[in-house]
Subunit: 406 residues, 2 copies
Amino acid sequence: MTKIDIAALDAEDPLACFRERFYLPEGLIYLDGNSLGPAPKAAFTGFGEVVEKEWAEGLIGSWNTAGWFAAPKTLGDRLGAFLGAAPGQTVVCDTTSINIFKAVHAALGLRPGRRVVVSELDSFPTDLYMLGGTGAEVRLLGRDGDRLEDLIDGNVAAVLLSQVNYRSGALFDMTAINRLAHDAGALIIWDLCHSAGVVPIALDAAGTDFAVGCTYKYLNAGPGAPAFIYVAKRHLEEARQPLSGWWGHARPFAFEAEYEAHPGIEKFLCGTQPIISLRGVQAGLDALDGVSQSALREKSLSLTHLFMDLCEPLCRDYGLVPGTPREDRQRGSQVSFTFEHGYAVIRAMIERGVVGDFREPGLMRFGFAPLYLSHADIKRAVEIMESCLADRVWLDPAYQVRSPVT
Amino acid sequence: MTKIDIAALDAEDPLACFRERFYLPEGLIYLDGNSLGPAPKAAFTGFGEVVEKEWAEGLIGSWNTAGWFAAPKTLGDRLGAFLGAAPGQTVVCDTTSINIFKAVHAALGLRPGRRVVVSELDSFPTDLYMLGGTGAEVRLLGRDGDRLEDLIDGNVAAVLLSQVNYRSGALFDMTAINRLAHDAGALIIWDLCHSAGVVPIALDAAGTDFAVGCTYKYLNAGPGAPAFIYVAKRHLEEARQPLSGWWGHARPFAFEAEYEAHPGIEKFLCGTQPIISLRGVQAGLDALDGVSQSALREKSLSLTHLFMDLCEPLCRDYGLVPGTPREDRQRGSQVSFTFEHGYAVIRAMIERGVVGDFREPGLMRFGFAPLYLSHADIKRAVEIMESCLADRVWLDPAYQVRSPVT
């Protein structure tokens, strides 16, 4: 692929105008939006407003006048719309881990007599850790069987899967797997951490039962910003979850001694939410305003495709092993390689202005956010990766002591 | 009490210099710090720094370089020191509700065979709601018995109490009740939401087992800022809690499929924390730096005492019923009255520049934060309350439609 092709791809990019909505340090190529998205410029004023005006000036009254109390629901509906969910099914709250706990408990409650949850050995570990805490019996794709369909039987209450795998970047077909689960009478819980904001998602249309995810990766809401949970309307009346805090009460301000779950999605709320961090979710959604899902997907595939093409000679020459599906429909917006010197290469690339990340063992991982990356960025990133490989940076003692790359 | 006495009290106030650490709107007397503390001035730069420098410039690297990953522990140790806890027993994370869930589960696990948790009917409701979600058998002071000692027997795993009652402002004797629980082989869980920051607390010295609380009341950390949990060192090895997320893993960055709880207080962490809201906890602790616990307590009692004295004629003339203990050792830093027109009076007082709050049914509630209130403020607040009562503001239709006062 020649330089001219790349310039043409960028010239025709309908999403190029979104780049200016984000702050990125001068000269940096950021391929780590799958770990922490960059700051939308609007966040600077957004946080200033919530701190200086709403908290400092408005004080307690801002719970109502500034919409703080309603924020998990207001933001949930807005995020839900982006994920193909009608209003009243999504709230922004707590963490992905805690929302997984709620969803698994709710699913077990909706399928009495069934105690098995099917998941994937290669899930982001917290999903499995949280499953362990629910007391469910766990079957894992990649350990207990080769095919998902062999694991799902009449004992399975729910299937919990990441739509995009955090290591390989592989993408599951949501509709097909929902059908697989439903055919066996099981429910589906999707972890959208690595897909929300970059893969078109249609929760209602796909017949999804539950979904959870974080907002600080491709939704650019800021470090550790509250997560979200979606529960399909058809389950809301019957669903229960044990984190029955006051924000989930039918009448939270009546201060009744007995808990009565809110009839709506609010029953999936628990305690008071971190309002200032929540403002980041608003900034992140503002930065997505007006984006076309199909343009997002098209550019995402174009970026990952270009990256994989340009990396082919490096794989051949240095022994990097590609870990990401080449076929478009099986790929999220992330590309990874395993390489024994991956840690040193990622560290050196960061020092040369390209931020990717490293996961033990030996995984070099690059995320591609169509809103702020150009094809020229990708070409430059590969050139820098090549320079690190050519320099055999792993021989440099500075890159041999491991400090965590979060 | 004459005007001269009040001026003298303020002139001799060793905490008067702390007032300038807080931003308070011009002319406002804020008696609602027991609901949401005001903004420490340092918060303005603190939030700017975490957003503009650490997130926007530092991006993913700030998890390490800016201490984000360590923040729950770093802030926990610092808050712990203020609450009389040696390092390694406190983390700042999640919400009070969720931390109650963790503590109750841990206590039940440490007392196998015992399924009862004793609490108080008049607890902040979320404590009871969360208890309900744990599956514990619940006995309530105020419903099942008149005296706490009659409720605690060999079936009781834990006693969960608010140190300061959110309605009456009554203060429990932590050491005495710890002894009561321990004598029956039960553990104690203290909810410090309405005492932390205003009542001297010595968790280790009192032999407390677990404590939880929020940081956004008298700790002034901002709306919905993350809560805290303390677990006494002697329980850390054996204690388990079911919200077993990746931040509680012994090796969170090893990405192992099996959960292994961290040996320390970190096992009480679960998912990724809201870093920007966490920065408010730092600002709140900074604003407390150098305060003397005894001076804090002395001024708190002086303020509440003065308020109750000045309100006596109002109670007599208008029928407000005092709900707060007059005896110093039984009182936190809050005074409340029940009054049938309480809602209208609180609303009118707010419009006249004195912020208190209202809780159903009929409870007028005032919090007294020694760091930013003067005795002159208290006198003025009572004058304004008196003007609202004299004006019979409840006859004004504007104050009859209820909107929630959070």
